[in-house]
Every structure is written in C-alpha cells, then in structure tokens.
Symmetry: C2
Subunit: 325 residues, 2 copies
C-alpha cells in the first residue's frame, strides 16, 4: 500500500486531514515547511506510528522528489494561505509558493508515476462574479487577487498534467474555512476581530464597509467532503465547490462575536470600500449543487459554522498566549 | 511620447507588428532573446531611426526593468512558440518562458507605472471544447497542453494585475497564424509538410489522422486586428478571439500544398490518433462575434490564408537554405 502524502500537513486543514487519514491505519507522510503551519498541529501526528513528518519546502524540487517516493496519492494543501496583498508585499509570493510549488509536486508525480492528486483551490479563483451562487463553470473567470490568480493557474497546470500524463485530479474550491485552529494573527475575519476586541473591547475596526457577504465552511466538514468526494469519484478530473449553500455578512459576524463575548456598546468603525483589502472579493456564495448531486452537503450553514467557531475560540483560554506556537 | 515596447519583436508576428507601429513614427523598443526570433526579421527594423533593439531575455528581471524605462505601452508577444510537448522535453519550459517571463513584464510595468499591455494568447487555452465555434467565455476552460496552461495562467495574472494595479489589458487569443515568415523547421503544419516533401516528394507523413480541423489567420491580418482593437477600445480588460470564422482540415492543407507543388501520386501516411502530438487540440474554430461586433473581421478564410501562404512559401527559393537565418 502506497503512502498518502499531505503537503501543508501542519496547516489548519492539512493537519486534520492527515489525522483523519492516519486514523484509518493508512501510511501518511506529512510535508510542511512550517512557514504558516504550526508545530502544535503536528504534535498529535507525531504520536502515530504510521505518520512520517518531513520538514521541507516545496520550492526545493529535490526534496519534493524525495518526499514523493513510495507515494500513491497526494493531498496538496501547501500554499501561501494569505489572500491579502498589501503594498510592499512581493508580488511573486503566490506565484512561487502556490504555482511553482505545485509544479514541483506535479513534476515529481510524473517522474515517479504517482497518479492521483487532490488540490486545495479556492473560491478566490472566480473574482467578482455577477452570478450568485457561483457555479464551477462560471465564465469568464477573472481573479482579482494574486492569490486567486495563482490558484487558478495551478488548476490550469493540473488540467494539462491530467491530459498529458493521465494524472487523476480532484480540485476543491473552498469557501472560507473556519475552525478551532483558526490563527490568532489576523489572517481571518474571526482572528482579526478577536484580536482587536481583546486589545480594545470598546470598538471594532472592520475592513471594508462590513457589507461583504461570504460563504463559510467548518474545517472538519471540509475534510469530510474531500475524503467523501475522492471516494465517490475514483478517477478523472473533478472540480468541486465546497461550502455551505448560504453566506453571511461581515457585520453579522461582528454582531455574533460581540454578543458571544457579552460586550456592550462596541462601536463599529469601518475602513470603507466594498472590499476589505486590495484583491478582496466582496461577495461570493458558492453553488454547491455539483457536490450535492454527488451526495455531500454541509451540515452547518455559514452562520452556524461561524457560531460554533466563535464558541470554541472563546472557550480557549490560551488563544492569544504569545508563548503558544 | 512614451515608447512602445514589443517583446518577441524578432518573431514572425512581433517583427511585423513593430514595423507597422514604427511606420507611424512612434518610438519603438524591440526586446527579443533570439531564441526563436530571427535576426533577419530584425533587419528592416534596424534600418529605422525610431526603433531601438535590445537583445535580452525576459527571465532576466533586471533587464526587463531596464527595457521598461520610458515605455507607455507594451505589446507582449515573447513566448516559447512551440505548443508541442515531446517526451524528454522539460515540463517547465512554458511555465518559465511564458508565465514567469510575463510576470517580469507585469512587475516592471507596475513598478514603473506603465499602464497598458497587449498580450498574445492562444486558442490553446480552451483545450478540447464540445462547443464550436468557441466563444471567449467558454466554461470550463481545460487546457490540455503545458503551452495552453501557461498562457491561460498568464491571462489569470493579467486579470489580477488589472484589478490590483489598474493596468489596462488586451488579451488576444490567436488562431493558428500563418504567413511568409513561417519557419522551416517543422513547428507549423506548412513548414513541416514543405520540409518533408522537399526531402521525399513521393510521400507525406501527416501527424494524427489528418482529420484535425483548425482556424487560421494571416500574420498581417493578425497585426491589423491587434492595432485596430487597441485603438477601438482604449482601456479596460478586453479578451478577444482572433481568427477567420471557419476552419480547415489538415488533410485539406496537405492537398492544397501537393497541388501547388504540382506533385503527383503523393502517398499520405498517418501517425494516427485524433491529435497530431501530445497536447494537440484536434478541432477548434473560434467564435469571432466579439471582434466582429467591434468592427473587425478577417478578410481571408482559413483556406484562403493557407493558399496565400503556400504560394508565398513556394515562391521563396531560399526557404530551405540552411545558411539562411
């Protein structure tokens, strides 16, 4: 039985996925450079005899080639997770960490005859869509962020490798994923809001105008969906939106959080503008009829996913402990 | 008045385009690494006082940055022109020469505030389409070649740079371009057939089954269309198919060539299979209603474009002169 390689296995989704696969007894190899993944996510994996952990960077083609040895299935989740572009950021971060890294994975697969890859893509590939909810076959697709463009470029490359070299591909376009492993450093709306309210519980600065509407999905539901769909359709080229079938506004998320923290009279302030940052897609809701037809449906709505995550985050006393990994 | 930068200006299309622009008196800078462009294409450009020629590679970001100085419009045609992937070829050639090169161009534009780029894309971005003729908004787009995937990835990157940094983009998805500058080395169907028939006029090996059907466009019509459309729509993000509105089969091209050469009893032999090579799209016809609506239409049909090119090639006594650049 070949190994299951999970790139980005120290990340929020990758570590849960690796644990789930390892719990079936399958041999798992986790590859992560720990640039955004956390050592603490790896701890439960290290305890398992059938999990091997490799620290390394996908931009090192030789290392990727080594990590591919004996592999039969690749879950490729490693990526620059930060969709935000801020002035001063390098403009080739996503190109390198998403696209070139993915090329190294695909090329190692081709050279070693590894035939199956599941790729974590994103709803950011769609850009600003006049069609809502957004079907997988939206046209035209016009990503507005370097992150979204690089992920769509990865999909294109997967398409070519599928046709040229017979590699089976599962491409999952995620809604915003939330869960208890959400990072505290402000990369997600909940992490951002919680940090701000911890620092000053009288006011909350909201990026954009707060009218942004987005779809959310719980981490464990995302992992469920991936494993279910790979099992349901065993080969070919599947592109699938993964998310709840509704959306929720940023203002509503702020209200839910403030209520859960039992804060009164919090003043909401806005940076203004439709999007929260350069390249933010202000509104998206995913058409999930394709995965519904395949038998998968999110159990929680976007609001339920947010509520559950808020409850877990608030219950975690160490969330903002600077000493914690 | 800023300069017009033409990357790939020693290529078949780029050199004609540069000449056309220079003939209006505009200052033109040509950038080419002469990997597939030819010195002979540059000769008429060198004779003009308003044309500057820079030999250099787009993979050299510093050189691209220098070449961008004082530029107000970029015609970006430089690319690996060979859509064929052959076993043994590096799989990252297109990723490097098309996508990374394009990134360097875009990043230099961003840094120096150059606001307009016309990009030469390709019908190969569509892959195998059940819809014929193929509209620009085909969905899904599934390139089947590394060339097509890399060009579509370039388009994605242009989309992000357009939205993030306000760069106006014209994306031209070319049909197969033919003209008197067609190379003799077998990269195009006419060059391939002519070379084979010169070597052995009794038989012709045809890649695939000969039933491939494709759209063609003459070089000078392609240049016309680009300049017309840039003038017609002065800003924004235009994606446009460029081609004749019909298609022609590979077998028909072979017949036309054999007849023009006045050869008798040529035996057609086939390598077999639907496509001519790994990643070949066997059938495509472009929907050109978008450019028609903007006021441009190819004057020649695909067959007329092929006929005219055959006549010119046959009339060129030095076509297969190994000494000729």
């Amino acid at each position: 039985m070949g190994k299951i390689l999970v790139t980005g296995g120290a990340g929020c989704i990758g570590s849960d996925l690796a644990l789930r696969i390892a719990s079936t007894g399958a041999p798992v190899r986790v590859l992560d450079n720990l640039s955004s993944g956390r050592r603490s996510h790896l701890a439960p994996l290290r305890a398992l005899p059938n999990v091997e952990i490799v620290e390394g960077d996908l931009l090192d083609a030789g290392l990727v080639s080594e990590a591919m040895q004996g592999v039969e299935f690749v879950h490729h989740l490693a990526a620059n997770p930060d969709v935000k572009f801020q002035p001063g950021d390098p403009t080739d971060k996503d190109l390198q960490q998403n696209l070139i890294a993915t090329y190294h994975v695909l090329e190692a697969m081709r050279q070693q005859g590894v035939g199956k890859i599941a790729f974590s893509s994103t709803s950011a590939v769609y850009g600003v869509s006049p069609v809502q909810p957004i079907p997988e076959d939206l046209a035209p697709m016009r990503p507005i962020s370097l992150y979204g463009a690089s992920k769509l470029a990865c999909e294109n490359l997967l398409s070519a490798f599928h046709h040229l070299f017979g590699i089976d591909c599962w491409i999952f376009r995620f809604a915003n994923i939330v869960g208890p492993k959400v990072r505290k450093r402000g990369r997600t709306v909940l992490g951002d809001f919680l940090l701000r309210l911890t620092q000053d519980p009288t006011r909350l600065l909201i990026l954009g105008n707060g009218q942004q509407h987005k779809s959310y999905l719980r981490n464990e539901e995302c992992v469920d969906a991936m494993l279910y769909l790979i099992d349901r359709q065993r080969s070919g080229f599947l592109v699938a939106n993964l998310g709840a079938d509704d959306w929720i506004s940023v203002n509503r998320i702020a209200e839910l959080l403030v209520a859960a923290l039992d804060l009164k009279d919090v003043r909401f302030e806005y940076t203004g503008g439709e999007g929260g940052w350069l390249g933010d897609v202000p509104r998206f809701r995913l058409d999930v009829s394709r995965v519904n037809a395949l038998g998968w449906k999110a159990k929680l709505s976007s609001e339920e996913a947010i509520r559950k995550t808020i409850a877990e985050l608030i219950a975690d006393p160490g969330l903002f402990d600077p000493e914690r990994d």
